[in-house]
Amino acid sequence: MQVPAPFEYERATSVDGAIGLLERLGDTAKLVAGGHSLLPMMKLRLANFEYLIDINDLHGELGYITFTADEVRIGAMTRHREIAESAELATVFPIFADAEQVIADPVVRNRGTIGGSLCQADPAEDLSAVCTTLGASCVIRGSGGERVVPMAEFHRGPYETAVGPTEMLTEVRFPIRPHAGSAYEKVERRAGDWAVAAAGAAVWLDSEPRGSRGGTDSEYDGQDVVLADARVGLAAVGPNTVEIPSISAALRGQTPSEELYARAGELAAQSCNPVTDPRGSADYKRHLADELTRRALRRAVQRATDQVRS
């Protein structure tokens, strides 16, 4: 098996300690959390560092999912499995449960963290797409204090983030708005593979469905409600996961319908910039941007409607 080049191992036991180590060691050091992206790259010697700072002991400090009336906060060291298993999170943002089903595999999900996922800044990374879709903001801490960066500014290109060399991502925040629904759709060549393309959708309904009838009618008939807001985030079809503002503009104030989803899909296909690779052709990925946008919106609206009705 391939093995990493030599490095010094340091273990941080607090966020301040980790930042202190980064300041002392400079850019020869790298933080490692779950390690499932970083260590393989180091084994293949695509990445080398003089120091590796293990922040797994920060799980106590940064492993949490907390809820307030208007916000969900997830600590950067929260592991995928914890996100997948949070029933409350699944209620507020079902998109997380969708995505966590298809991120790598269950054993990797035992170790991988949301912070690691975001800091990897892989354009095909699913949680990044979820955060993009939900309009998350990232809390970055340095010795000078905290700053909050919106997701749109967090990724600065493939494998590049707004986190400075002596800073770390500590938390991701998600605004809660009423009457929400969300969903994630991904096509992969095989379980555990990176996305060929993926789309997340989040919608917020305007008000109570006008014709809230209850009953046995499980299919949303599309005539009841208006979209107060909607967001779509795409993965693997550009240099970073991206949110498509034109879709939000096109959907806002509209009544959900197949025609509307088709319009959104069309915008997604127009807005993305995929490349041909062994996962699929650019044409196919563009098609998926369309198809998966439609599917994600359809499910997100269905969920929002169900929630409002229940």
Binding site: M1, Q2, V3, P4, A5, P6, F7, E8, Y9, R11, V32, G35, H36, L39, P40, K43, L44, L52, D54, N56, R81, A104, D105, P106, V107, V108, N110, R111, A191, G192
Partner: protein
């Protein structure tokens, strides 16, 4: 640097390089060769061990990162010399052929059953989906884990596996 961890219930302390992978620590430093490795990129899952009861890929955990934690390997699966139901299930249902992925599969199965004593076929397939087997086509692995589940629940109807049965010497 020095690392101390618990492996199969025993505290071990060794002097190691910071970059030493847990799988090499177990295999080369401690001689516990039941844990295998099969790739460079955390994809094959032959190296799965339990860390604090959860399956992890030991090729993607530094030995240093395991410091202070509890590791359990296939060598620690049989408690007091008695085979774990998972081990008996794999033998009874032909859940292994070359045996290379088997330790990792069994460790994941053990952790699954600890959390979910009565998993469905799909839950089993999902649980082992980060681990590759090239021999069995997975069907008998799934059956082996189901066997172990029903064994623990006392609802199994098939008989015990028998490892060897001999006849007496000539008289």
């Amino acid at each position: 640097m020095q690392v101390t961890m618990t492996v199969n219930g025993e505290a071990v302390t060794r002097e190691i390089e910071g970059r030493l992978l847990l799988v090499h620590f177990l295999r080369d430093t401690l001689g516990l060769t039941g844990t295998h490795w099969g790739c460079d990129t955390s994809n094959c899952g032959t190296c799965v061990v339990l860390m604090d009861g959860e399956p992890v890929k030991s090729c993607t955990v530094l030995a240093a990162m395991a410091g202070g934690h509890e590791i359990r390997t296939v060598e620690g699966l049989a408690a007091g010399g008695e085979l774990d139901p998972v081990q008996r299930g794999f033998m009874n249902c032909h859940g292994l052929q070359c045996g290379f992925c088997t330790p990792g599969m069994m460790m994941t199965a053990r952790a699954l059953l600890d959390r979910n004593p009565d998993p469905t076929e799909h839950e089993i397939r999902e649980a082992i989906s980060g681990q590759i087997c090239r021999c069995t086509g997975y069907k008998n692995i799934v059956e082996s884990i189901r066997w172990a589940a029903t064994d623990a629940a006392g609802t199994r109807t098939t008989l015990e596996p028998v490892e060897a049965q001999s006849v007496g010497s000539a008289s």
